[in-house]
């Protein structure tokens, strides 16, 4: 074969070869991965790339909207009547509970007023709709249709009608990312509704039941116990249903019992969720008295007193 001794004209020049591009971009990708997992430096870049996601958000919502519009249009009058009757029945069925709660609520309010405690729900609750879930089987995340512009903040708790869904972990201007309580190592401080035993529920990733870790084998726990948030972390308000105990293994030969739970929230069923603001969960830090302020300036005395 004869070698042509001239360089190809510029016409054919297409920049660096695919191999060198791959080497460069591959290293860059590795660097990004490293920076993202170790240092979380890249939230800014994420926000920029997320600009592309606005049309995506609309596009994802469109088929559902169109479908529900058509379904509504053709939904028969009879279905609506049935629905109405059912809802009426449910309303009546729940009336005693609601009235009971009203009374309890009043009593609670009086007691709290006595104790001078901030009201738990200050009203910062935002209704959101699930946009999409990740494709990938590892992902324990959902995206909802309100973000920073709608008042959602990172760290807010998210609940649906059945229980705690998770926590807002990233906020884009028009959408937010919610990490589910089943996510690997996601921790929710809980207590057993029946006995008041406190523990922490850790998510275990896809397809595995969350578990209560660091709970003594002697703790008062039974299969079927309901777990509610204990509110200790200041993220989740007190008393939201989280999970149900499905198995208790006390004979592990370890210091702690192995307790598996089943989350109550309908992660893959619920379309509508509620974001509870953090202010609602945690009372604002009381203002420090003037003398303490002065003492702090003088030295570090009085800071803990």
């Amino acid at each position: 074969m004869r070698h042509i001794p001239v360089d190809p004209p510029d016409f054919f020049n297409r920049g660096p070869s695919p191999a060198s591009r791959l080497a460069f971009l591959g290293l860059l990708a590795l660097a990004l991965m490293f920076a993202d997992t170790r240092f979380r430096y890249l939230e800014g870049i994420r926000q920029v790339v997320a600009v592309v996601l606005y049309p995506l958000q609309r596009a994802v919502q469109l088929p559902g909207e169109a479908f529900s519009y058509v379904a509504d249009y053709f939904g028969s009058k009879r279905e609506l009547a049935d629905d109405n009757a059912r809802l009426q029945q449910e309303l009546v069925a729940q009336a005693p509970a609601v009235q009971g709660f009203a009374e309890l609520g009043e009593e609670n309010a009086r007691l709290k007023a006595l104790l001078d405690v901030q009201q738990r729900y200050a009203g910062a609750a935002i209704a959101v709709e699930v946009l999409y879930t990740g494709r990938d089987p590892f992902s324990q995340k959902v995206f909802v249709n309100k973000g920073g512009d709608g008042g959602v903040k990172p760290g807010d708790a998210v609940v649906d009608d059945l229980g705690v869904v998770g926590q807002v972990t990233r906020v884009f201007p028009a959408m937010a990312e919610v990490t589910l309580v089943t996510d690997r190592d996601h921790a929710v401080p809980v207590k057993v509704e029946r006995s008041g035993v406190r523990s922490v529920m850790f998510g275990n990733g896809t397809g595995r039941a969350p578990e209560l870790r660091f709970t003594a084998p002697t703790a008062d726990l039974r299969v079927g116990d309901r777990l509610v948030t204990s509110g200790i972390d200041g993220t989740y308000p007190v008393g939201l249903a989280v999970a149900e105990v499905v198995s208790v293994d006390r004979e592990t030969g370890q210091m702690f019992a192995r307790i598996a739970c089943r989350p109550l929230a309908g992660f893959d069923r619920s379309r509508y969720m509620l974001v509870l603001g953090r202010e609602a969960a945690r009372a604002p830090r009381p203002e420090e008295p003037a003398e303490a302020e002065a003492a702090k300036k003088g030295g570090r005395k009085g800071r803990r007193g």
Binding site: R14, P18, A19, R21, L22, L25, G26, L28, A29, L30, A31, L32, M33, A35, D36, T37, L42, I45, R46, V49, A50, V52, L53, P55, L56, A59, V60, P63, V130, L131, Y132, T133, G134, R135, D136, P137, F138, S139, K141, F143, T169, R170, E177, R184, G205, T206, G207, R208, D268
Partner: protein, 180 residues
Amino acid sequence: MRMMPSVSGLTPASSDEILRPVHPGFIALTLFLGLVANVVPSTPSVSLMRPDFLAIVLLYWCIQEPRYVGVGTSWVVGLVMDVAEATVFGQHALAYAVLAFAADYFRRRVLRFPLWQQAVQVAALLAICAALVLLVRVVGGAPVPRWTYLMSPIVGALLWPPLSILLQWPQRPMRSRGER
């Protein structure tokens, strides 16, 4: 088949057909639709089988139009995918860049085969892509998934023939009614 233009549209372009140049806007549109197909909500049983549509579309353009879509474009698209799916930044970027490189390496060979044989090779390429994503995950501490993880590249390869015909559609020469 030549007699019926409507039917000829449903078959892959034969080698004597001269395709019209592709519109870059069309490439962008299909990539966007691939992204939408990747994130649209579905039931857990379906999402086990769900192929990586974006990877298939990227692969198609890398093989057919390497002047428009190559390693760089795939890398950027991968970054967008990372943000959309809230995965570790750069993970899909790396996987798609490797996919594009492999596509560029094999493209002259792949194109010589009929569509269903192309699909077999595409399955291998998609599996490499999925394996890279898995590798990053496992290094990051995720548990190894069940064998169903393999379904996604296989389903993706099965979708290759219909998707290639669909993506080639706007480039087919328009045939007037009286011709041939």
